[in-house]
């Protein structure tokens, strides 16, 4: 019975299937990138995530960068050059005890400078130096395809900007000129309850912050304070700072991260030096745009018989490797003494 029935069923099923459309990959006409501009800075890794909306196109989609050209239309092969990049093989937890432990989680890998994740369309502009790539406007195309269709997104704009060695940065990364003072041409910490000798509230603008690169042997950060006469202010003035548990909050790892490694206090308490990973904080460039380190210098004093707290705080990131000094310069001397 089944001897003749089964072949009949098989043959007929085969015939039926011939009459039916095969399942094809779906490529949505509305699949698109959110914007066509990619602003990148040399000297750091730039990541653009979740810019592509596949609109339910069948995954996986393939993304290919094509037609990388300068502004004038001439090819820009330097953007496709393979460069050394750091790739994470384990996740950064923020709980690492040493810088080496952090670095051990990364491996070196060669990638083209202008890189795209093959299936998600996340564009990555890897950390490279300005000797290879000149700042300016470049264009490139992204070809998106699956077996159901393809779409060429043409003339994506890549604005390559000058390096910003640290953040906030006082210089315009397009022109290289210093910004206007009120637009961030001079950096200021945020002050809370800091008073001058006359017990007047001091404004943020009464303190300047300067970054100074002092060497390239190691990645360190030294913090110094100077008063209006350019005399060092001892760090011991900030009597509430808990040096042993100094930490900042990361938006990426969701938790406090110890501020730097190997704290070294100058004998006269005029400076403190940390070994820092590069960039600092660790995920400052790849994590998100607002992943920054934070340091606060709180102190307390007796003012008119009552104890008052005050602090200076500064949020920053350092991208260029080397020894950096972060200098707080009081333009008005603050009052640390009790009344």
């Amino acid at each position: 019975m089944l001897r003749w029935l089964l072949p009949v069923m098989f043959v007929l099923t085969g015939c039926y299937k011939e009459l039916l459309p095969k399942e094809k990959d779906y490529f949505s006409n509305d699949a698109a990138f959110n914007g066509d501009e990619y602003m990148v800075n040399i000297g750091r890794t730039n990541v653009f995530i979740a810019k592509f909306n596949p609109n339910y196109s069948t995954q996986p989609l393939d993304f290919i960068i094509q037609q990388v050209v300068h502004r004038d239309g001439s090819p820009a092969p330097e953007l496709l050059e393979q460069v050394d990049t750091w790739q994470w093989k384990k996740f950064y937890s923020g709980q690492e005890k040493t810088i080496a432990e952090i670095y051990d989680k990364r491996i070196r890998q060669k990638r083209p400078v202008l890189d795209i994740r093959p299936n998600s369309g996340d564009v990555i502009f890897w950390n490279t130096d300005s000797s290879r790539i000149k700042p300016g406007l470049y264009y490139f195309d992204i070809l998106v395809k699956n077996n159901g269709g393809q779409k060429l997104f043409q003339r994506r704009k890549l604005y390559v900007k000058r390096p910003r060695p640290y953040e906030p940065y006082e210089f315009n990364d397009d022109t290289g000129e210093r910004k206007k003072d009120e637009d961030g041409g001079i950096l200021h910490p945020s002050l809370s309850g800091v008073k001058d000798d006359l017990n007047n509230n001091m404004n943020n603008t009464d303190v300047n912050v300067y970054f100074r690169k002092t060497g390239t042997e190691s990645n360190t950060l030294t913090i110094k304070f100077f008063d209006k006469d350019s005399l060092p202010v001892k760090l011991s003035r900030f009597n509430l700072i808990k040096w042993d548990s100094l930490a900042y909050t990361s938006k990426i790892t969701d938790g406090p991260i110890r501020f730097g490694f190997n704290r070294r206090m100058a004998a006269d308490s005029s400076a403190v030096t940390y070994d820092i990973p590069n960039p600092f904080p660790v995920l400052a460039d790849v994590g998100s745009t607002d992943e920054r380190a934070f340091i606060s210098f709180p102190y307390e004093r007796i003012a008119f018989g009552s104890r008052t707290k005050a602090s200076l705080a500064f949020t920053f990131g350092i991208f260029e490797p080397g020894s950096w000094e972060m200098i707080f310069k009081f333009k008005v001397n603050p009052r640390f003494k009790n009344d």
Binding site: F91, G121, L283, V286
Partner: protein, 1075 residues
């Protein structure tokens, strides 16, 4: 073999008897089926010489007649070959052969009664005998597993409601509702009762919460009154039923009187409905410990844990010594009950071929296992059939029924039972002082649904000249549906609810035609050309009016009124209709006209080769104005190859035939709204009233009917003297022109237009095998009949409007349905779970960004950790997002079928009916919703806005293989990672493949043990012709790999809704008697 010897014996006896005289003698005897040896009741005995009826056999096949010796008697019974024997002595044993039973069976196709051997369409017949012995509230339940290709899922146990039915796969794509209450548009076949086409649900489309009583005609027909049910599956069989038959046709024929002496059939049974298996739950101290431990372990720190525990809302946990909170209440159990019910059927029938009558009265009381739910039905079916002359035949029927349904506090299909009241077991159960709104709703609310159905028909058939008959059938079907509901304020958000529904549905159908019958060899159709032709027209007028009154916030629970508007209860009164929930008005009101013309031509040569051609034209008042008529052509061919001389030599072959058909059916889907558009009165413009279109739907005058083309190839085979019968069918059915919404660009000014554009193909194979492995010549010996049927159906979506490849039916509850060309028509759209992370180190790390794979596309720290499910990251961006959804699963089963067994020995018979289903995707939302709510261990209820709002109760976690500590390899993720983490990541979310399971099952529908009383002295005293007692267990058991309680009581889209009405099992003791 023995039969032959008997014949020889008869011949010898006859030879010896002829020597005697010709005076009348009393002849006794018995007529039996040649194969099964069962007595045949109602066999007509005719004296050939005088052409006079001498009598009929009784229920056991016994007869006593007076006949002159030497006369020749003919024994006639439908479906059997006539047996002609000479009177031989006073004792006769006659056996009627039914070797071509399957072929000579009369079937009603396209309103015409024909022998099966000339029908080319695919028609399956269920005998009324197979539908007995179990009192169900809806006869549809009993058809499950009886016919290959008829997929019935009894997905609700609510008395008087019915499950889903579809013939050869789904042919609709529209989905209404959302979440667990999403339902697929019905695929109802056309129902024809005694040649009257009726609407399947009494004109109400049964999808989810019903405004009306929603009691359809199949719930009102008593099974005891059913002679047979025919299922028309292919286009040829359904062609003559026109556009309404596009989803298949079910023809129900009720019993007819056929006995010269009046027969009284009484069938009475008592049955007990038992509550179903409840969902596993932890209660009492186990629950308290779980909750407190969970709060301590999963809060982000001790402070938060203490805050949660010290919150007054958590007093039920912490105040464990308080007797008020020291309970272990079984909330589910409180809603269920065991009920005792009765079913009674009385039938009086009699008459002969010239005039017969029948009256059937049925009463069933069927109380549901959920409190305050049930279905009582009363029906009276009167039938009269007359043949005053040879040329004139008149038939008339009047069917009337009352169905009374109580829904308690539920909707019937959804919103039932403990679902929303299934709260912490620590809370005290109901008592004099404490209540639970849902339970009180079941105890005290009133929700009476009454359906009155009156249906009558008159059928006149007259032979004008030889072989040319005209006939006219007119039927009128009338329904009144009422629903009266009163919700007490305690059970209805502190405001009373009064709801009244009145629906009237009527249908007038008249069919007038001519048919012609020609045979070149009248005496033996197997030797000539035979032609059958018929032409008829059909007119159908339907109207439907539904009115709803919905009044809330009445003065108190004892004043069930006012039933109308008053200033206080006017819908605009903000105190009355606070949230705009009232639905006063007339949701449905229409009159529908349809006119049809149909022609049919059937030709066969020696009943060996037959050709059927049919054509039907349907026009209706709702069709698009450019296409008012739908055309239904069909053609069929049948070759009874066993009648070829070559085959006649094969002694093992009883019959064999091949059928091939093709046809197109259309189904009008245009409505006035989508074909002509709607206009409304808008604000004044230039001091004149302006009339402007409704910009929601743009008119599409080119709307065409939905069509279904179907190819069918079938083989019928009977071998080994009736021991094995095989029916095989294969089909390719394409439903096209399906109406879909096409959303328009804003610039058009309209939101959407409805266009023809969807297409679905269903193809498959159906096989039914009936075998009689043990056939004993002695009727009291062991007899065993076993039949297996199965249908494999594959559905494929072949087209979407505008050439689209993909359509996503977005759902508010993350339970979207994806339609993609080339796949099964409906697929779930979910994340693919590929296991559970053994530890946090196993979570993939984004090599560029140095962070773990994350559950959210955007900023935040929704990183996966050990114990979270591994959801496939399709686009490799280390973020779980919309791009990672996968189309998976198929809510439509691959194989459905049944397995039936009947064994009889001496006076006992045992029937076992089973059904099975292979491969269907079910989403266990009942489980996932309960687990995901455990994030709120400190609360009684997951708040609105949480992933799954509803009461928090503890699933029996010992039944789940879940992740507990690093390194565990488990199927389920951690029940709770931490409250903080789970709120972000939702590891137990509903839209993942983890909860999609295979819903294959094997179900024992019915086990009946019957005892036939035979030859007892008391039977003679009581003038009992027949007495039978039986015990039936119904819904005996279901075997399935599915983790929920029942893979069948899920929605048509395969979601296990905790608020569904579970299927009850029942146990019946009944007696059938014939006087």
């Amino acid at each position: 073999m023995k039969k032959r010897y008997l014949h020889i014996l008869f011949a010898l006896l006859l030879a010896s008897i002829t020597l005697y005289g010709q005076q009348p003698v009393t002849v006794r005897g018995r007529v039996t089926d040649a194969v099964t040896r069962e007595g045949l009741p109602g066999v007509t005995i005719i004296d050939i010489k005088s052409n006079k009826g001498l009598g009929v056999t009784d229920a056991q096949g016994n007869f006593t007649i007076k006949a002159e010796a030497d006369r020749t008697l003919q024994f006639r019974y439908i479906g059997y070959k006539f047996e002609t024997v000479k009177v031989s002595g006073t004792l006769m044993q006659v056996s009627l052969t039914a070797e071509n039973k399957a072929l000579k069976e009369a079937v009603v196709v396209g309103y015409q009664k024909r022998t099966k051997e000339t029908v080319s369409g695919s028609v399956a017949v269920i005998s009324g005998k197979d539908l007995q012995d179990v009192p169900v509230s809806n006869i549809q339940e009993l058809l499950q597993g009886k016919v290959a290709g008829l997929n019935i899922q009894n997905n609700t146990g609510a008395p008087g409601f019915r499950g889903t039915i579809s013939v050869r796969g789904i042919s609709q794509l529209n989905i209404s509702g959302s979440g667990d209450q999403a339902y697929l548009a019905t695929n109802n076949p056309l129902l024809v009762i005694d040649n009257v086409p009726v609407d399947f649900d009494g004109g109400i489309s049964q999808s989810m919460l019903q405004p009306g009583a929603a009691t359809g005609p199949l719930a009102l027909i008593p099974p005891e009154d059913v002679q047979s049910i025919e299922i028309m599956k292919d286009a040829q069989a359904t062609a003559l039923y026109g556009s309404r038959g596009a989803n298949g046709v079910i023809v129900v024929t009720t019993r007819r009187g056929n006995s010269p002496t009046p027969v009284i059939d009484l069938n009475s049974s008592v049955f007990v409905n038992f509550p179903p298996k409840l969902r596993p739950t932890w209660g009492g101290n186990l629950e308290r410990r779980y909750r407190i431990n969970s709060i301590l372990a999963n809060s982000i720190d001790d402070y938060v844990a203490r805050m949660k525990l010290s919150d007054e809302g958590a007093q039920f946990l912490t105040d464990s010594l308080n007797a008020f909170y020291n309970n272990s209440t079984d909330w589910q159990g409180l809603f269920y009950q065991t009920t005792t019910n009765t079913n009674n059927n009385l039938q009086i029938s009699g008459g002969n071929l010239k005039m017969n009558y029948k009256a059937n009265f049925a009463y069933q009381m069927n109380q549901g296992v959920l409190k305050n739910t049930g279905f009582n039905k009363y029906s009276l079916n009167l039938q009269l059939f007359m043949q005053p002359s040879k040329r004139l035949r008149i038939g008339a029927q009047l069917f009337s029924a009352l169905g009374q349904k109580q829904r308690g506090n539920g909707g019937g299909l959804t919103g039932n039972g403990a679902g929303d009241a299934f709260t912490s077991s620590l809370l005290p159960g109901p008592s004099k002082f404490v209540g639970n709104p849902q339970l009180e709703g079941y105890n005290n609310n009133m929700d009476d649904n009454n359906t009155i159905n009156v249906r009558g028909f008159l059928d006149v058939d007259y032979e004008i000249i030889n072989n040319l008959r005209i006939n006219s059938t007119t039927s009128y079907d009338y329904y009144t549906d009422t629903r009266d509901r009163f919700n007490q304020s305690f059970a209805n958000n502190n405001q009373t609810g009064l709801y009244g529904f009145v629906g009237r549905h009527d249908e007038l159908n008249t069919r007038n035609g001519v048919n012609y019958n020609f045979s070149s060899n009248r005496k033996d159709v197997e030797k000539g050309h035979n032609i059958y032709a018929s032409v008829f027209s059909e007119i159908n007028i339907k109207s439907d009016d539904q009115h709803v009154r919905d009044v809330r916030n009445g003065p108190n629970d004892f004043y069930w009124g006012p039933r109308g508007y008053s200033p206080r209860f006017y819908p605009g009164n903000p105190w009355n209709d606070k949230n705009g929930v009232n639905v006063n008005g007339t949701p449905v009101s229409y009159v529908y006209h349809a006119a049809s013309w149909a022609g049919f031509l059937s030709y066969n040569f020696r009943t060996k080769y037959s050709v059927d051609l049919a054509y039907r034209l349907d026009g209706n008042s709702a069709a698009g104005i450019n296409n008012p008529y739908t055309k239904n052509p069909s053609a069929g061919f049948r070759w009874n190859f066993s009648k070829e001389n070559v085959m006649r030599r094969l002694s093992w072959l009883d019959y064999g035939s091949i059928r091939v058909t093709y046809g197109v059916n259309s189904r009008p889907t245009a409505t006035i709204l989508n074909s002509l558009g709607a206009y409304g009165i808008r604000k004044n413009y230039n001091n004149n009233t302006s009339i402007a279109p409704n910009f929601d739907v743009m008119a599409n005058p080119a709307m065409e009917p939905e069509k279904s083309s179907q190819f069918n190839f079938g083989v019928d085979l009977g071998i080994l003297k009736g021991r094995v019968e095989v029916i095989y069918d294969t089909y390719f059915k394409r439903n096209y022109n399906l109406v879909r919404d096409l959303f328009l660009p804003d610039a058009t000014g309209y939101r959407k237009v409805q266009v023809n554009g969807g297409a679905v193909v269903n193809y498959g194979h159906e096989l039914s095998v009936t075998a009689r492995p043990i056939v004993h010549t002695n009727p009291k010996g062991l007899q065993w009949t076993v039949s297996v049927n199965g249908a494999m159906n594959k559905g494929v979506l072949t087209e979407l409007p505008g050439g689209a490849q993909f359509y996503l039916q977005l759902d508010d509850y993350n339970e979207s349905i994806a339609l993609k060309v080339g796949r099964n028509p409906l697929g779930n759209f979910m994340y693919l779970t590929e296991g559970v992370y053994r530890s946090t180190d196993d979570v993939p790390v984004d090599p560029v960004r140095g962070v773990r794979y994350k559950a959210f596309l955007g900023s935040g720290i929704q990183y996966f950790q050990g114990g979270d499910p591994i959801w496939k990251d399709l686009n490799g961006d280390y973020n779980l997002g919309a791009a990672d959804y996968v189309i998976m699963g198929n809510p439509d089963p691959l194989v459905t079928g049944g397995f039936n067994n009947t064994v009889s020995y001496r006076n006992f018979s045992l029937s076992v009916f089973c059904s099975y289903l292979i491969k269907r995707s079910i989403i266990n939302n009942a489980l996932s919703a309960r687990i995901v709510r455990l994030q709120y261990a400190d609360k009684l209820r997951a708040p609105d806005g949480s992933p799954s709002p509803g009461p928090v109760n503890i699933y029996d976690l010992s039944l789940i293989d879940y992740w507990r500590r690093n390194g565990d390899i488990t199927k389920h993720p951690a029940i709770i990672g931490s409250f903080y983490h789970d709120a972000m990541v939702q590891p137990n979310r509903l839209d993942q493949s983890l909860y999609m399971e295979d819903g294959s099952y094997f179900k024992i529908n019915q086990v009946t043990l019957a005892y036939q009383f035979r030859d007892f002295a008391f039977m003679k005293k009581l003038k009992l012709r027949l007495l039978r007692a039986y015990l039936t267990a119904y819904n005996v058991g279901i075997f399935s790999p599915y983790s929920g309680p029942n893979p069948e009581t899920v929605t048509s889209l395969g979601r296990d809704d905790i608020n569904g009405y579970p299927a009850a099992s029942s146990f019946t003791f009944g007696i059938g008697a014939q006087f």
